[in-house]
């Protein structure tokens, strides 16, 4: 049974969309799925080895010239050490999940106050859904939904959005973001040739930077000693 029902998936998509629109600004296609990413992440310990670290070395996306692509090792998961298992159980599901683990010494702070990532997300989601239901059928602004989700949710959610969008597709969130940002992703076992490494990028600039000059100028001057050279 999935962790997120259809309504929860829609709400997660809406909240994620307010940070990074889930649709490509060019094609209009949905390019990442935060709920699929979180589903896989939060249920990591439902499989053995847990789905925390993808295997390696190769994804199978890069075939050498004239050769065939190696198998996709990313689809497998690496076994966790004891410390990794304890840390990820705690991080995802809180101290209750360590109850059956022997030889563990938890500080009072962790024992009494630490909330797992999954609970933080579910609590935030519940808050946002409550607000949406209260206001139904009137539309609710995304920022109001985020505020209703709470500060703990807002503290963790942008990172999760970025991870869902741009991690390797085997982590389930990335449906096609890499081409959107002109990023090739993993490159082995092929890698890059000397000209590709050493020379200027060929061809037309796909997305000139000058449109963002104001943002960059602002950023470069708000930090210490920022300079505009040109």
């Amino acid at each position: 049974m999935p962790l997120f029902d259809t309504n929860a998936q829609k709400m997660l998509a809406r909240l994620a969309d307010s940070y990074l629109p889930i649709r490509s600004p060019d094609s209009g296609k949905i390019v990442y799925d935060v709920s699929a990413y979180l589903e896989s992440f939060f249920s990591a310990f439902n499989q053995d080895p847990p789905r925390i670290f993808a295997g390696g070395p190769f994804s199978g996306r890069n075939a050498p010239p004239g050769g065939s692509a190696p198998p996709n090792d990313f689809q497998q998961s690496l076994p966790l050490s004891r410390y990794q298992r304890l840390a990820w159980k705690l991080r995802l599901h809180g101290p209750e999940d360590l109850a059956d683990e022997p030889f563990v010494v938890l500080s009072d702070e962790l024992k009494n106050n630490y909330v797992g990532l999954a609970e933080t997300v579910f609590e935030g989601l519940n808050g946002a859904e409550r607000l949406a239901n209260d206001r139904f059928p009137r539309p609710v602004d995304a920022d109001d939904l985020l505020r209703a989700a709470g500060s703990d949710f807002m503290a963790v959610f942008p990172d999760l959005v970025a991870e869902a969008a741009f991690s390797a597709p085997e982590y389930m969130g990335n449906l096609g973001t890499w081409p959107e940002i002109f990023y090739p992703g993993d490159s082995l076992p092929v890698g890059y040739s000397e000209p590709a490494i050493s020379q200027a990028g060929p061809g037309e600039e796909p997305y000139p930077i000058h449109e963002l000059a104001d943002i960059l100028l602002w950023f470069s001057t708000i930090v210490q000693h920022g300079r505009k050279f040109k």
Partner: protein, 584 residues
């Protein structure tokens, strides 16, 4: 997919001559020397192993489960200790209240140690770096603890040479960058030619030359061509912060550690955490080391391993912590009162430039060029202050880039897509990073925290660290020059990367310094503790000063020399191959 084994090497050895705690640059290099000489060596490594075939003589079986995967290595920190269950506390000065910080200069906890995940730049230290004790006499530096090393560059030079040939360092041709402080660059030709110049690094290299600086292809323990059964680098772009997926990176795991394991005289137990040294009543001999085995156990049942000699090589913070954990009175090996003190990190001054054109830094080895013009010269008042080597380049990946825009710049929505597409802080980014010398100070130290415990119930390291005007002034002095160099390189915008709240340079040194005077140092010149006849140190803990150069090659060379001194005190070079050419 075959998964790496927990125990490697000869699992039938029952009696050990030496136990080494830590399998990183120092521990592995020392193990190679001792095991090749027939000593039975046990290496205890707290972290897991991600490398295949390390103890298999067939090079074709050497493999890895590392990969081009940002989530796995950078975000979820596969090879790093997890601060959630193994925290460290931090305070900027004595008297401040320590607090838990997410990252107090953690080094990887994995077979092979820190160099597994670094992009493994391997300059030597400068000749003058071994005699900087005189700086403590200079005005304004009286509160520092600068000291001479008890060995000279000449003592270490054959071991530098050996290690460069063993691991196949790539670097500039002889005569390149004439005028670089003597010692930093190998003068008789590196074993491997430099790999391809990254485009951004190349822009900075050319700009540096125009400005009259003596820039060079950065020496690195990354193969530019096939060498000793390992493949040349494919320049995949996932280098700094990533374990090498094809083992072109000459980390200690696939070089010195593998040598040790293939002798048949070495056993490595990974996921085995040393937690306490047992010592005799006079506190002048170690009698055993207690460990937590891979699946844990109750403290009263911790297994103990015994040998004739013991070596701390767990990194400066963890090596000092283990000594302190073993004797909470703080007296073990501590006649000088300096155990845990003189902790040093390089003081990094980082400027970042954004270019109009794309630099595609995701292709290559993170950094390919640099210079030593800002290292200064302690004997030349006109060539001050003492800064450090400058690296040209960096690569970050999209998740990190997106979080910078979202969290630091508060960009959301369509504007976020625009930024990600234009990618000013990834695809157009060039950084210049100076590793400034960090003045040793006794107040910068590792102690045991009196409140916070890790998940095994052990006191965590409490790091007290604040910068001295020595390195702050050097950083300020060279900052404008770095910015000028960025502009000359062609950047449109430049800014100073804000310093992190706690140091995260990954260049960690000091805490168990070596020296001639037992009242002013913890260890002797041969790495042995002054006060404990069978306990040695073989990692960056020994460094009395930090230089301004990446430390790993020096750690490996020094550990090899320590191994030589353990075996042949009168001529430690007997353990290395002094003939020219590749080491087999």
């Amino acid at each position: 997919m075959n998964l790496p084994q927990a125990n490697l090497g000869n699992t039938t050895i029952e009696k050990f001559d030496v136990i080494i705690i830590g399998s990183g640059a120092g521990g592995s290099s020392l193990a190679a020397v001792l095991a090749k000489a027939g000593k039975k060596v046990l290496i205890l490594e707290a972290g897991p192993n991600y490398l295949l075939g390390l103890d298999n003589p067939d090079d074709g079986q050497l493999g890895s489960v590392f990969s081009n995967d940002e989530l796995k290595l950078v975000r979820r920190r596969l090879v790093m200790p997890d601060p959630l269950i193994e925290p460290r506390t931090f305070r900027a000065k004595p008297g401040d209240s320590p607090h838990i910080e997410d990252d107090v200069n953690y080094l990887p906890k994995t077979v092979g140690g820190g160099a597994v995940h670094a992009d493994f730049k391997t300059p030597r230290f400068a000749r003058f770096d071994f005699q900087l004790g005189k700086l403590a006499q200079e005005p304004g530096l009286g509160d520092t603890n600068f000291a001479d090393w008890p060995i000279t560059y000449d003592d270490l030079e054959p071991f530098y040479d050996y290690m460069e040939r063993l691991i196949g360092v790539q670097g500039p041709a002889p005569g390149f960058a004439e005028g670089t402080p003597p010692g930093i660059l190998r003068t008789n030709g590196y074993p491997q030619a430099p790999g391809p110049t990254m485009y951004g690094s190349g822009r900075a290299f050319e700009a540096a030359q125009r400005k009259g600086y003596k820039a060079f292809p950065f020496p690195a323990g990354i193969l530019s061509a096939d060498y000793q059964g390992r493949p040349g680098c494919r320049n995949c772009g996932f280098c700094g912060n990533y374990g090498c997926a094809i083992n072109a990176k000459s980390s200690p795991a696939v070089t010195t550690l593998r040598q040790a394991l293939l002798t048949g005289n070495c056993l490595l137990k990974s996921q085995t955490r040393a937690v306490r040294l047992e010592f005799n009543g006079a506190k002048n001999a170690i009698t055993g080391v207690y460990v937590i085995p891979p699946e844990g156990c109750a403290p009263q049942n911790y297994p103990v391993y015994r040998a004739d000699a013991y070596v701390l090589a767990a990194s400066p913070i963890e090596s000092a912590r283990l000594l302190l954990l073993s004797d909470p009175s703080g007296q073990l090996g501590n006649r000088s009162g300096q155990v845990g003190q003189n902790l040093m990190f390089h003081y990094q001054t980082v400027v970042a430039g954004v270019f109009e054109e794309r630099l595609h830094p995701y292709r290559g080895r993170s950094v390919t060029h640099g210079m030593a013009d800002f290292r200064g010269d302690p004997d030349d008042r006109h060539n001050r202050p003492l800064g450090g080597l400058v690296e040209f380049g960096v690569s970050i990946e999209p998740i990190t880039e997106a979080t910078i825009y979202m969290e630091r710049m508060r960009i959301r929505g369509t504007e976020l897509w625009k930024l990600l597409k234009a990618s000013p802080l990834r695809d157009r980014l060039l950084t210049l990073t100076m590793h400034g010398e960090d003045a040793p100070q006794r107040t910068n130290c590792v102690q045991l925290d009196d409140k916070v415990r890790d998940i095994d119930g052990l006191p965590v390291p409490r790091v007290t660290y604040g910068n001295h005007l020595f390195e702050l002034a050097a950083g300020r002095f060279y900052l404008d020059k770095l910015m000028d160099l960025l502009g000359e390189s062609g950047a449109n915008y430049g800014f100073v990367a804000p310093p992190p709240p706690t140091p995260n340079t990954r260049h960690v040194m000091g805490t168990l310094r070596f020296g001639a005077d037992p009242t002013q140092s913890v260890c002797r010149a041969d790495g042995r503790l002054h006060d404990i006849g069978n306990l040695y140190v073989a990692d960056g803990s020994l460094f009395p000063t930090s230089s301004g150069c990446n430390p790993t090659l020096t750690i490996m060379a020094l550990a090899t020399r320590i191994g030589g001194q353990m075996l042949f005190p009168d001529d430690p070079t007997r353990v290395i191959d002094l003939s020219p050419g590749p080491i087999t």
